[in-house]
Symmetry: C2
Subunit: 312 residues, 2 copies
């Protein structure tokens, strides 16, 4: 099986290693025959990206003619490009897509899935929500139930900052510590304003609740107005302030909330993420890391394994 990879950062490199090392023992015959980035197309695998020729993503698609397109490029929330065009063209040719890139799905979930369905192609996107911790793929395993509501701690950066604030730090010190430890980017805006969690919630709402929403439909606010006073006030009541993403029962939003120890999300601290799924049968909570290159690569690779080798 031939794969074309879009993007070649840390996730792409980790994924390349996973594919090389683990495919044989999983009975998976897969080879990344091309990598395309803004800088061009690489045809022979090397540790670092070196373009062998110029070309756009669609030219790379024609050149490689892959069975599978893998997107590990970074999110472009303006219009989802060039990923969006690559997905639509690939899917319309019946080529499967597996992605770790939230933007195209958060902006155009319904459209992408409609093209996939019409052409009998599949889209894997476990890595877009909670990285390698099964969220989408947990929901796949539970799809015989009807999901009523989902709640989650979907952003590790903000959960880390709130955890440290609960331990006494003020917002700026906690943010700086997160940056120093690599948990927050130099420009942390998309994390701390709730945007990143909103993108993930959009994908979950589409998949689990079958709501054809886009990122624009999500009401979101972040943690920037959380002060030590508010954290202490919550603590006096035995509660913690958490940034909770919530979808279902008419709600679609990301906002801070005071939650109590009976709530399974109360105990989820640090960079850890969690998803609390309420179905017509039962409530299930999954907790795990929500970021990291190896985790994201594992999320992508899990999709590939499930797509080509099935569950059973």
């Amino acid at each position: 099986m031939k794969a074309l990879m879009l993007g070649y950062g840390n996730v792409g490199k980790a994924l390349n290693s996973l594919i090389r090392e683990r495919s044989p023992k999983l009975g998976l015959d897969i080879k990344v025959e091309g990598v395309v980035t803004r800088r061009g197309i690489m045809l022979n695998q090397r540790e670092d990206f070196h373009p062998d020729k110029e070309g756009t993503v669609l030219e790379a698609l024609d050149l490689i003619n892959p069975d599978l397109v893998i997107d590990v490029s970074s999110a472009n929330y303006e219009d989802g490009e060039p990923s969006l065009s690559l997905y639509l063209e690939s899917l319309s040719r019946g080529i499967n897509v597996v992605t770790a890139n939230k933007a195209p799905l958060a902006l155009n979930f319904s459209r992408i899935m409609a093209v996939a369905e019409k052409n009998g192609a599949k889209v894997g996107f476990q890595a877009t929500v909670m990285s390698g911790t099964p969220s989408i793929n947990l929901l796949r395993a539970m799809r015989a139930a009807e999901v009523r509501k989902i709640r989650g701690i979907l952003n590790g950066t903000t959960n880390y900052i709130l955890t440290r604030m609960n331990e006494g730090l003020d917002y700026l010190s906690a943010l700086k510590e997160a940056q120093r430890r690599g948990y927050a980017e130099t420009d942390p805006e998309h994390d701390v304003n709730g945007f990143d969690a909103a993108a993930k919630l959009t994908i979950l709402a589409n998949f689990a609740l079958k709501k054809p929403v886009t990122l624009k439909d999500v009401e979101f606010s972040g943690i920037k107005d959380v002060t030590q006073d508010k954290v202490k006030e919550a603590a006096r009541k035995g509660k913690k302030i958490k940034l909770i993403a919530n979808a279902g029962e008419g709600s679609l939003r990301v906002m801070t909330s005071e939650i109590s120890p009976e709530d399974p999300l109360y105990h989820v601290d640090g960079v850890t993420n969690a998803l609390d799924v309420h179905t017509d049968v039962q409530e299930v909570v999954i907790i795990g890391p929500g970021a990291g290159p190896l985790n994201a690569a594992f999320g992508v690779f899990s999709d590939i394994v499930l797509m080509y080798k099935g569950t059973f």
Copy 2:
């Protein structure tokens, strides 16, 4: 697709309803054409079991000639019969098996799976561990990772009793309350002595760690020697006593342990179950109900959906 069902208690009835109500919208064409119990074979579905003719499980297999065998009968830990014979014969004919019955797998996992593999048949057993909460099926979704260690709270009865003891009740009062609320059986021996959790751990160790162990290999002890004094002593150290099933890194046992608030299992109280999976990529914890007829039926039905409709 024709199914033969072994057993027709509360789980079987709930499963029958799920199959009837949910199969059409999942694109699943399945019909339970026969039910076999110790009392004989029922060919026409009725709310309560009435045998239409006499016959053993193997006679029922010949009579129905199903595509799928579903086992929702109760566990026989003497020899796993009549389930074991039914599985081996069905699988040798290439007929898939989905089961909620722990005993045959806890006693003969390797043998059953070898016959399945040889004949290209599949075995679904999500419902044997944590009922409808994805445990086996979570591991299926994560099988691109290598599991190093699994820890779990796999028995709701004992976890309920320990939770109530932590709230001040003595062992006997907590047990009686569990019985009154339907969380413990009249004869609670298999729960309170750790046997039930050991059976589940055997299945997990085989599946997740590829260890060809049987129930006899599990070292287990229960909660009968947990006293109020011990619970209070743990609480003084900020800890809780929990019955933890543990496999991996040379260990295979079920025993009580004092665990601290940093442990994700510390916060799992009442009848709720949890599984803590350590892989070479990441640690993931899943929490949910571990018993109940609808939950078990949902676990079985989830296997059927994944087996015949795939993950993607």
